[in-house]
Structures are given as structure tokens and as C-alpha cells.
Symmetry: C2
Subunit: 258 residues, 2 copies
Amino acid sequence: SQMTDAERRRGVVAFSSGNHAQGVALAGKLLDIPTVIVMPHDAPAAKLEATRGYGAELVLYRRSEEDRGAIARELCETRGATLVPPYDDPGIVAGAGTAALELVEDAGRLDAIVVPVGGGGLFSGTCLAAKGTDARIECYGVEPEAGNDVQQSLQQGRIVTIDVPQTIADGQQTQCPSALTFGIMQRYATGVVTVSDDELRAAMRFAFERLKIVLEPSGASALAAVLCGKLDVSGKRVGVVLSGGNADPAVFASAVIP
Amino acid sequence: SQMTDAERRRGVVAFSSGNHAQGVALAGKLLDIPTVIVMPHDAPAAKLEATRGYGAELVLYRRSEEDRGAIARELCETRGATLVPPYDDPGIVAGAGTAALELVEDAGRLDAIVVPVGGGGLFSGTCLAAKGTDARIECYGVEPEAGNDVQQSLQQGRIVTIDVPQTIADGQQTQCPSALTFGIMQRYATGVVTVSDDELRAAMRFAFERLKIVLEPSGASALAAVLCGKLDVSGKRVGVVLSGGNADPAVFASAVIP
């Protein structure tokens, strides 16, 4: 839904320490809408600086003592601003699906598309977009082995909540899908496979050496599944979504140095 | 000039340990032309593997004892193959210029274009292509401080030969431009500026953090010149060519870790 001029002037609020924060900040800059991002005070300096560099106002909080959701909601109330949640929202799901539309536009007919799964926003948006262009496209999601809440949820036909997953894939440390994303995935997803942290590192190394692209662990998960044979892709045209490059330098270095 | 069918069957030979090797190997694979690449036997395993992976036959030599140019010429004679030199060739210069054409096509009118300079193939091709689309475009080349043979040559109006430059920019350790590339640069180049190894590392870090692109030191040199204020770009539309991502993992890690 379109924002009114008054809503645009009052701006938007988001909470995230990663790609969503920087995406919202940059979108705000391009559209001339003020943005406030709620971030942990101990987030890496590079991420704070990048988000500020895209023109956002930062509100810092202490992870152990404060609730970022509550801070964001209070900011929205005080300022009359609009909350932009990271995945549990029809607009965000639709926006995430545009990557699949662009991929099909560029690459032509696909047999399958493979995407990283965290909260399920990207995966459910991809399912809707891909199936919308061609109902025969198989849609696979990829989770870290340590945190397969979506795989379990789809297998059991109900939302399963797990402990915070211990994995280098910090963009996929979600504990459960939302009702919105689960409903879409349940209807349209072909399946979910998992990859180990070592497989994520190998995919980051491949992207560094051959594609010259910086991927963070979560952003490399779909690529890892394809490279490590988790899906049968022989003879098929397969689209792979690389979804984030917000890598910590030390984590990146340890992945790419053999 | 187009190759004949017989020439295509006999294949091409190139010598390089970096981007040219992989570019020729990949082009051969796409065009179904056999490729032989002469590489140092102690080149990084990842580069040997990548070049082989693109379908090239490798001929390894010992840097200290053998002359790679002589090996390549002998291979060409024995096999009737075509030599593809790294820069001193009108076809290579023209091919290198296509990056500037694509940039202008995508980005529209530019006031200036900035490119890395090694042997001068990319820079002279860029000058020809950019000036061909719009004679007002300023064309700047960027060399490492430690090896400014092109800058000196243009200043003195003759080809200046320097010692092998000591710099992390291994793609720009050239000692002099060729007669072909010097002649083009002398006529069309606006100027050449230099950057330090620390400025190259800062540009690699910027590309890693903000662009999510892997750059090798030489590939980052034009970006470094713009970021470090070596050129007056305020209020101008400036195209910057990022020319290579064949980075050694350890060198890359030391550049991107703050």
C-alpha cells in the first residue's frame, strides 16, 4: 500500500542489525523519507557507519536489557512513523519476491529456484513470484542444519519453534516462521534442505574465487546447497539467489583462506 | 580480425598468471576454441585450478629458469596456434575498450572515466571507446605510486622504462608501456594519477563493505584514486572501472580486516 505524503514526512522505523537496516536506510534516502533504525549499541562499527552513511538516524539499545521491538513501536507512536518489519508483512514478502522476477526476466525459463530461508519472507515472496510466472518452477528453501525450523514446520504441518540456532549463518538464527510466511510456504514450497557451517564456508570461498562476490554465510546458503549436491540439479536450469553480503571481515577471512 | 575455421581448430596460446589467463580460457570454452595457458609452476593452486576449470590446457614453467614468452611462441609454432598477448595488440586494446562502451550504455553521459593502468591495454582501449562516444569525456589512468612508468612516459613524451615496481598491485608491475598503447595514450589520455598501497587496501575494504565486490589491488586502483581525492570529481558524473578480482586470499583478508 502506498504511503500518504503525511506518512512519508513522518518517516519509517525499522529494527535490524544487518541487511534490512541498510536496505530501509538506503530506500529512505532514495525516496526522501526519514528513517530511524534501532540497532544494538555493540553492533560492528562498520555496520553502524554504513547505516548512518545511507542517511538513517540510529537509535542504539542494549541487547541484554532492552527490547528492540518495544523501542521501535514506541518511536512509531511518538513520531507517527510507520514500522517496516523485517519479514512478517505482505509488502515485505512481495518486495522480496521481486528478486525472483528479475532473475526470470534476465535468465529466462527456469526449472527450479533456490533461496536462503530465515524468517521466510524471501522464500515465501520467491514462491509467489516464481509460481506466478510459471507454475511448474520448483521452489526450494535452504536453512542451516543447526536451525531447520521451517523444514520441521513444513514436515509437521504446523509452526515449530526451536532454540536459537548456533551457526555462523547469523541471518538465519530465527526460531520459527511467522503465520503469514508459513501459510505461503506450506502452499507453494517444493521443499527445504539444510547445509552445514563448513558447506556455507565452502560456498563463500567459491563466490570469492570465481564470482568475485562477497557473501555472508546466510547469503551463501542456497549456493552451498547446489554446490554440495543437496539438490538434484543435473540437466536442469536452476536459479540461485545470493541474498546478502553483510559479512564480518574476520568470519569472511576465515572462510576464504584455504 | 576474425579467425579462420582452421585457426580456430588449432587453438590459441596465452601467457599470464591472472585475469588474462582466465579470460582467454573462458572465451575459448564459450567459443569452442582450444586454449593453452603458460603459467608459473608455483602460481597459487586456486588460480591453476580456476584456469583448468575453464577448460584450458596448462603448460607450467619455472620463473627463474625459463622464458614464458619463448615457451608460448614455440607452442604457437609447433601447433600452428594463435598467440593472444596480454595487452600489446590492437584486438586486445579494442576488446578492453568495450567495458567503457558498456558503462556509457548503462550509465549515460559521463564527464570523466577512470581506469587502472598496467601495460596500457585497458587505458588506451578505454580512451578510444570513451572519446569515440563523446570527445568531451576526460580519461584518467591510475598507477601504483611505486610504478608510474606511464605517468613518467606521458610527462616526458617518450617511453620510460622503470625497475620492477614493488607494490601489492601485482597486475600493475609493468616496467613500461608498449609503443602501441603509448601512442594511443599520448594522443587521448587526459592524465595519470598514482595511489599508494594503503590507498589500494582502503579501496578494497570499501568495495568489500559497501559494494560486496571482491577486488584485487590493481583492480581497485581507479576506485582508490576517486575515494582518496586524487581527482577533482565534485559535481561530475564519473565512471570508475573495477578491473579485476583475482585476489590472493591472504592479501585480501589483510586489506579488509580493520
